[in-house]
Subunit: 472 residues, 2 copies
């Protein structure tokens, strides 16, 4: 970076930031933001759409339910005037199906105790009679190396490090614990383990098991892996402490059915001034099969749809192209995000911003943003100067942080990335569970999130100009 | 204000705000904020205290339940080491008691329909046989003058302007509608009305009636006034449209029992460096008699208690005096806030800041602040410079706005005032109703609010120095 560029950037930050809070907002724009909220609260269809989507139920990539969800979203987009719709093919690495059998039985002496369980996505099946072995409790992947093959060979490894309820951010706590589910079974298999039990990824103590992906890479041995509820994880741990050694039998009839073709659903309003500059809004359409995928991520899909419906309804002609993307396969493969990023790489389309909603349909707190490091001073200045003060008037914050699993694939293209941040306190009660259902989403909170996203899209459309490369 | 002061203030804002977002936060302080959250999430007692407080039930100022609540809070404070406790007498203008009878019957021809109703606090009783009269629907106080005595004399006036569900902020919508409840009945009486029915103050359509205060000033004629649910308000309105004229009978056995003595409960940790500079945290202890006062404002009371418990538990010695105040009589008289402000006026105590939680026990969004206009540039700069960046890291925003009914009485003393702002979307489902109960408050959300308040108290204790008067 040249010094001249650095100095002008710093000056921009310095002068820009003096505006935050004290800036006079444009009355016409304040009026437009109110109009956005008014439309969504009084006439927005996102809650109705969520009803339809959740009635389809769980919709893992490759499943017939996912195909129904693709059609459902396509048809909604097709009813919106000024929106052009298409499907984007994407390759799903592995279509996984949960079978009718899943069971974790632990033996207190001869007495069998059945635990609340859910097979992890990607787990192979057990033999019909199940796998019976000694349970080896560990608190993380590093314990595997410490215990070694001698202790682990032939055992069922039980990953039991809890999500930290004392963490400020439940999402950070999730990030600190989830390696046990994602990579624990594959790592345990390296030491000769024959099965894995994983404590559910939640900071709540209850009897609800949480599924989620576990990954076996090419050439790695795959062993059956099942999550148990946090209450049952505590009971199992306590039983092991009391008895010294505990046997368990795990059974699951899940199947890995290999690659499939699926689709992202795309709908867009062409920009009036900069049709070739794109602002993406999206969520992911797939959802775990054990629930209805209401918070994860039906909410994100219908909120992003609501953005398009609202812009049309309030008669706002965007200057940039506003593109809705329903990503497929976020949960267990990332095929949709990969296909979308590939298409950008090949077409050379300019993506100036991308917003993802994938943290639940709860009341919005604001947005976290991200971008390539060398672009951050520019975006920081732009956001402070004009976007943040407007959003602050709506009690929404903006701060540097992450974005989302799907849109983050656009980072290499210089795109300004956002993740909607709803209040995070209840999300991991529902995440990947049978209780993630339509009724768990409050209509006004869902709409408030959609209004936040639409407000951000509107402000970006008004004020975001992509940075000029410094040395070209 | 001198030019020199103005320029130095502007310079302070200018230089300070360049720090927002980009500022390096002090690692020790970040650690302390994490410790605050960890303590509250893992060991905080606020949710347990809320259980006890809500078991006492509704606790209008002057009632035996209010006395029990005073004892309950006193005893909790008394168990906290380093906290000194006292009662502050306050004068309650009117102890109001709901009687066993409350009824709104409308007649569709001869067919009586019973509506979901709740007598408004301050309403006198009807005769035992009730008051039967024609219903006159109006949409606001201004309709009274338009209709005049000829139309209104002898009628039951029905205030039916809904809270605007299209408003961005439900609290603003409440503010725009609540004059009908607070002053509607007294104004209607001026035109000869014999009773009042008021549409419940909520933007939701349901069958839950919301009580609340109605005010008859000295010398004004008092008429019985009853709220009905929003669904019943819509039905009544529709019946009037269909039939042209509808009769109703209202009955209530509520009573105004006149002035009473009651108490604010005060507990404080004396400051180590500035014992005479006080930071107040509080909520109000009284609650409507028809529910348990969980969100309104049991949550605020236990969150403010949690601030003291946390500071003691993490072994933080505050430099300023941190004072908990449980205000009495916020709901129907303001006696507690008045007594507290009077004591400040007489004692000359310096109150550098005051934080109120009285908007529900939902997940926190951040804080709105307020101060006397001439002090706002100073506080704005101070908040932007150091407090806001720290809170932003916790996903909490700070912006200029209101504070709260009780602490706002400290505004004339130059105090920096804050109101905790939880997510506002569900509050008016519960406000002043029988469903405002313990189970309606989510433990983690309640605790997140307490952690937000404790974080702010900690940062204020570290960084808040009162402004120097410009011309002294």
């Amino acid at each position: 970076m040249s010094n001249k560029y650095l100095i002008s950037t710093l000056f921009a930050i310095f002068t820009a930031s003096s505006n935050l809070w004290s800036q006079e907002l444009n009355p016409g724009e304040i009026q437009k933001l109110r109009q956005i909220h008014r439309h969504i609260y009084l006439s927005g269809d996102c809650h109705k759409w969520l009803k339809g989507l959740t009635q389809i139920g769980g919709r893992l990539a490759g499943s017939p339910a996912a195909d129904s969800a693709i059609r459902y979203v396509y048809e909604i987009l097709d009813t919106l005037p000024e929106v052009s719709v298409r499907l984007q093919p994407c390759s799903i690495p592995n279509y996984w199906v949960r079978g009718p059998v899943e069971e974790v039985i632990v033996y207190d002496g001869d007495k069998p105790l059945s635990l609340d369980c859910s097979t992890l996505g990607g787990s192979p099946s057990t033999p019909a009679e199940g796998i019976t072995a000694v349970v080896q409790e560990v608190y993380g992947l590093e314990d595997l190396e410490r215990l070694g093959r001698q202790a682990l060979e032939g055992s069922i490894v039980f990953f039991n490090r809890p999500m930290d309820a004392g963490e400020v951010s439940p999402f950070r706590a999730y990030g600190q614990a989830v390696d046990q589910r994602v990579r624990g079974p594959a790592m345990a298999a390296r030491y000769g383990a024959v099965g894995a039990i994983v404590r559910s990824m939640t900071h709540f103590l209850d009897d609800v098991p949480h599924t989620g992906v576990t990954i076996f890479r090419d050439g790695e041995k795959a062993i059956p892996a099942i999550a148990i509820s946090t209450l049952d994880a505590d009971s199992l741990s306590s039983l092991i402490r009391q008895r010294g050694s505990v046997m368990a039998r795990i059974r699951t009839s899940s199947k890995n059915l290999g690659p499939r073709l699926s689709y992202n659903v795309i709908g867009e309003i062409t920009g009036s001034t900069f049709p070739n500059q794109i602002i993406v809004v999206g969520g992911h359409l797939d959802a775990w099969d054990n629930g209805e995928g209401a918070h994860d991520d039906g909410a994100g899909i219908v909120q992003a749809l609501q953005v398009l419906q609202t812009l049309v309804a309030i008669d706002y002609t965007p200057r940039h192209t506003i593109r809705f993307v329903a990503y497929m396969n976020e949960e267990n493969g990332g095929g949709g995000a990969r296909a979308y990023a590939d298409s950008v790489r090949i077409s050379g389309e300019t993506h100036i911003a991308a917003i993802e909603s994938d943290a639940g349909g709860f009341a919005p707190v604001g947005f976290h943003w991200d971008a390539q490091p060398h672009l951050q001073p520019y975006y920081d200045s732009l956001l402070q100067q004009i976007i943040a003060p407007h959003l602050l008037q709506l009690d929404l914050l903006v701060r540097k942080g992450g974005s989302g699993a799907d849109v983050s694939k656009l980072k290499p293209f210089g795109t300004l990335l956002f993740g909607l941040r709803p209040q995070p306190h209840q999300y991991f009660k529902y995440h990947h569970t049978p209780i993630d259902v339509f009724d768990a989403v409050h209509p006004r909170e869902l709409k408030a999130g959609a209004a936040a996203m639409t407000s951000l899209v509107y402000l970006l459309d008004r004020y975001l100009t992509p940075p000029k490369p410094p040395n070209k």
